[in-house]
């Protein structure tokens, strides 16, 4: 489905040259849910933007369904790390969520409404339809961005630390929401997170990125059962084992650099 081959990205300008990503190669199967972890500043956001066709790689290729990605491909949704700035301050919450749907010509007005309502309800924002984004708390803004991506019913969903600003309980709810959406729609998901538990809980696979110069340090298949829930899965001893394993890998990535 999604194939990354020898991806490199170098930022140049304003007297600085940063090799954000050195050489990344991996594949996502259709309908897979993979999590991406790695130290701060290692190039996760950069990678996601290259996948989304927002950034041209300096070298290497991104292939989606066998076609090279050069511009944002249809059927892909992205939840930005900078959630606050990705919402339009002149649109109310409802309109922010609805805006991408309006581009789907074949969708009826009513279905659009329905999707907006439902996705906002699912992120717990039933009462904020009429607010402007800047009238919301950080966590609420982030949930609007998530609702927008879910309402879009994408085939590929890229999420960049989407739960960074919400509390533990909401986070757990949203984790289950993502898994539910993934199962219901069969969407391919790449999920960036800093929370190792979250990565293990969510993913079928966890990709660990090294510190820069960034490469894929490790790919771990999480063979926990597909039916997961917050209590039993997290109590599973294999869960703990995965978690420890990943923690060690990240440590290793960090140490390698220092």
């Amino acid at each position: 489905m999604l194939e990354v081959r020898g991806l490199q990205k170098v930022y140049e300008g304003a007297g600085r040259r940063v090799e954000a990503v050195r050489d990344l190669t991996f594949t996502l199967e259709p309908g897979e849910l993979a999590c991406l972890v790695g130290p701060s500043g290692c190039g996760k956001t950069t990678l996601l933007k290259c996948l989304a066709g927002l950034l041209a790689p300096s070298a290497g290729d991104v292939l989606l369904g066998g076609h090279k990605v050069t511009a944002p491909p249809p059927g892909m949704a992205l939840v930005f790390q900078e959630y606050g700035r990705s919402l339009y301050p002149w649109l109310r919450v409802r309109d922010n969520v609805e805006l991408p749907l309006r581009q789907k010509k074949e969708m009826s007005r009513q279905r659009r409404r329905e999707l907006v309502e439902r996705s906002l309800a699912e992120v717990g924002l039933t009462h904020a339809h009429d607010a402007y984004p800047w009238q919301l708390s950080g966590g609420m803004q982030q949930r609007v961005a998530i609702a927008r991506a879910i309402a879009y019913e994408p085939e590929v969903l890229l999420m960049d630390e989407p739960f960074a600003a919400v509390d533990a309980q909401t986070r757990a709810d949203l984790e289950d929401l993502v898994r539910r959406v993934w199962q219901d729609l069969g969407v391919t998901v790449l999920f960036v997170t800093h929370d190792i538990d979250e990565a293990v809980y969510l993913g079928q696979r966890v990709l660990v990125l090294s510190n820069s110069p960034t490469v894929v340090q490790e790919q771990l298949t999480i063979d926990l059962p597909d039916e997961r829930d917050q209590l039993t899965t997290r109590a599973d001893p294999r869960f703990t084992a995965f978690r420890t394993r990943i923690y060690e890998q990240i440590q290793a990535a960090k140490v390698a650099k220092a």
């Binding site: 300008g13 304003a14 950034l55 041209a56």
Partner: protein, 258 residues
């Protein structure tokens, strides 16, 4: 886009414009006696360039322009910042400003002549009066555009008045001010020429007036072209300054990406 490419494209644009001016009269769309083609204007321009009096007139115009612009920009910035820092002052003066702004400089000609005769003083008066408002309005909108979070940051660290001007107001307003200066520069040039034209203060405007009343059509167009070229030069300078001063700004750094 590289500087060379930008210059190349710009030259192409100018060339196209010159060709258009050449063709308009040649195709008989306008009588060539009153709208001479580029080639005739160029010959007349060359004639002008060879005359010493042309250069002294150009010098006079540039002095009036530069001095007037300097005063207007300095005044506009100081007044704008003052009004931004002291809200009651803004409220107090708003109606008066709105009243004075639309009073055309040309209507002030008798007053200017009364005060300064045909000396540079009357040109300056008109230039400053017209250009000042351009700068002021831009500065007012610019300082109104301060990001609320950035402002809260400044307040929470108790930045002093001077530091707030220097580190918050100034950089936020700068893009607006640059536009203001570009607007004011052209308006100042226009008013300098107009004042000379009507009042007879020394400068290019007088030469235009003489050419006009002498039925010396190509000469008149040549002199008008000189004002256009001045405007062009002024803009080149402003753009260069902008690239230095606003290298951090989205509008400038955005150019490099994609």
């Amino acid at each position: 886009m590289s500087a060379a490419r930008r210059a190349g494209l710009g030259l192409c644009g100018l060339f196209g414009f010159l060709v258009l001016i050449e063709l308009l009269p040649r195709t008989g769309l306008v009588p060539s006696a009153y709208f001479p083609p580029t080639s005739r204007i160029a010959v007349a321009l060359w004639d002008q360039v060879l005359q010493g009096s042309f250069w002294s007139a150009l010098g006079d115009t540039l002095i009036a322009w530069g001095l007037g612009l300097l005063i207007a920009v300095a005044g506009g910035v100081v007044a704008g910042v003052l009004l931004a820092l002291v809200p009651w002052l803004r409220r107090f003066t708003a109606s008066t400003v709105e009243f004075l702004r639309p009073i055309p400089s040309v209507a002030l000609i008798p007053l200017a002549v009364l005060l300064y005769g045909t000396q540079i003083g009357s040109t300056l008066l008109l230039v400053v009066y017209a250009a000042f408002w351009q700068v002021l309005v831009q500065v007012l909108y610019g300082v109104g555009d301060i990001d609320p979070v950035a402002e809260e940051t400044a307040r929470s660290y108790r930045l002093g008045t001077w530091a707030r001007i220097r580190y918050l107001l100034w950089p936020t307003g700068l893009p607006y001010l640059m536009t203001g200066i570009r607007l004011a520069a052209a308006v100042a040039l226009i008013l300098a020429i107009t004042a000379e034209l009507v009042i007879g203060a020394p400068g290019l405007g007088v030469r235009i007036a003489v050419a006009q009343s002498s039925q010396a059509v190509p000469q008149m167009y040549a002199l008008i072209a000189v004002t256009g070229l001045l405007g062009l030069g002024i803009n080149l300078g402003a753009r260069a300054a902008e690239r230095r001063l606003l290298s951090w700004h989205q509008s400038v750094r955005g150019e490099a990406v994609v």
